[in-house]
Symmetry: C2
Subunit: 315 residues, 2 copies
């Protein structure tokens, strides 16, 4: 156990969930062609630089709306990389701004590579500045290359009190291609790939448990696979889940319920489009601004999760 | 078949291999603490901005040395992301500079995500500017999330005449964790995961064969697994391989030989550290500059590959 829970990601995320009374996190997926019209119409949005500037404005205003409501935001790196290096300047600003507003930052970049390259990604993203370049609290990591490629991320996470979420069972329809294959030999005979990854993640997290009972090494498990979510919750008692797929991708509160423990802890539930582009949805068409639509959609998602899961215990 | 081979990645890469008479590609992995002393000692290298500037200088001078010798360079995104957004500015400059010097650019970023996020990564990196933000010829892609997550990359690659290399069997010692598991059910009973991915990649590449006989969808297969390399060469006749692990990681010319067809085509062989940091190796200690060490190491690697593989047919 760490002496100082403020230096342990599992503890920090758990404390933030308890403080905000919800496991909802907001995904920052700023697709440029979906930005509110009153942002884009006021100026020339044709250059990457200008698009990046609008993206920064949108994300900072989003952060202002949700900062008091949720424990963390999850920027999706792809939508910033899409805007070239201008987008990366903006991503850096947004990470800093979210942290300044008291939010944890889960960088959703799904990195993964071997040896010293994995080390470079880990040092780039994990932990406070200036040791880390980007200063994020957490990074999503892809396990396809093997257990040895997780090690540099685990080591840096534990050194810096940051975390990783390893892709275990993802929310997309085709996630079975590899993840659902069951294996025919060795110690894992009959087990599915996602379960082999899950067992490794639980082992890694059990090695770095904080005062919360959770470690720094989390797992991505999609809301769209509620059976696997419940199975893995039981198999991974010390592992925090990042649960995508709630809302726009079809996952309901009932679907995510199995991902939380009986105190409403052990998982964060991400919603991106359903919140940040709420202004496009008929039910929020009466909102006086896109900000008001986002705020109402956030409250609604928090309420849906509380009504349908053990997150009610946090209230 | 495309009408214009200059608009097809498989054809463009094959033509470049034939023109340069070698399948060697140079990996740009600019670890900041390994840059030549005469670069770093002349100035304060403590800030990210300054480190990025030195990285740009190093990579551009590397490109000058190898531009006439090899078909492509492979920047490793991690070492640029490590330098924050300053590193991304430099990465963008380096891509442009390599293309200006007539090299193909394989962006080694191992991206992978679902639906519109994968679409954003594909549009970010693949194809010529301005449709693509970064303007690369090719991107490495991670298949763990499933076949549906490959589709946006395949579509953009085929539309823009660019390519992807999908991770199949990677060069690291732990690559077996997932890739070497053999499965016990369905159409693939008894097959290993890497082979299931390989069969999908071959199918995708067979759907977009150019005049060269190769498609736009390639596979990463490590030099450190020569048996699998030879097995996959036979199973994937229309797929170009990106073969890492040659040189510093231990792969010899004999190890990579099975990755090329009988004309010396169908693969590119990457060397990073062994070439770009050649000045640190005892055998090049007599070189009059780090540039001269790089040039000699490139010639030596080309000769070793030609002597030990069918790439001799290209000479």
């Amino acid at each position: 156990m760490p002496d100082d829970p403020s230096k342990h990601f599992g503890d920090r995320l758990t404390a933030a969930i308890i403080a905000k009374k919800t496991p909802l996190v907001v995904g920052l997926d700023p697709r440029i062609n979906q930005l509110p019209v009153n942002l884009t119409s006021s100026s020339d949005a044709s250059s990457e630089e200008k698009q990046a500037e609008l993206t920064a404005q949108f994300c900072c205003e989003l952060i202002d709306v949700v900062a008091d409501l949720v424990p963390a935001v999850k920027p999706q790196a792809a939508f910033f990389e899409r805007l070239g290096w201008h987008g990366m300047v903006v991503l850096s600003r947004i990470v800093d701004y979210a942290k300044q507003r008291g939010l944890l930052v889960i960088m959703d970049a799904k990195r993964g590579d071997i040896g010293s390259t994995a080390q470079a990604y880990a040092s780039a993203y994990l932990g406070p500045k200036p040791q880390s370049t980007w200063g994020c609290d957490c990074l999503t990591v892809n396990p396809y290359m093997g257990n040895d490629t997780l090690e540099p991320f685990v080591q840096v996470a534990n050194q810096t009190g940051s975390g990783i979420f390893v892709l275990v069972k993802t929310s997309n329809p085709g996630s079975g291609t590899i993840q659902e294959q069951s294996v025919d030999g060795g110690a894992n005979v009959g087990q599915k790939i996602y379960r082999i990854v899950a067992d490794k993640v639980q082992e890694l997290s059990a090695d770095c448990i904080g005062q919360s009972g959770f470690g720094n090494i989390g797992a991505v498990v999609g809301a769209t696979y509620p059976e696997q979510l419940a199975e893995l919750r039981e198999a991974m008692p010390n592992t925090i889940f990042l649960i995508p797929g709630f809302g726009a991708q079809g996952g309901s509160a009932a679907d995510v319920a199995g991902g939380l423990d009986d105190k409403g802890l052990g998982g964060v539930i991400n919603s991106s489009r359903g919140i940040i582009f709420a202004y496009q949805k008929p039910e929020y068409s009466g909102a006086k601004s896109w900000h008001a639509a986002v705020e109402q959609a956030t409250h609604d998602a928090i309420a849906r999760i509380a009504d349908g899961t053990s997150a009610s215990k946090l209230r």
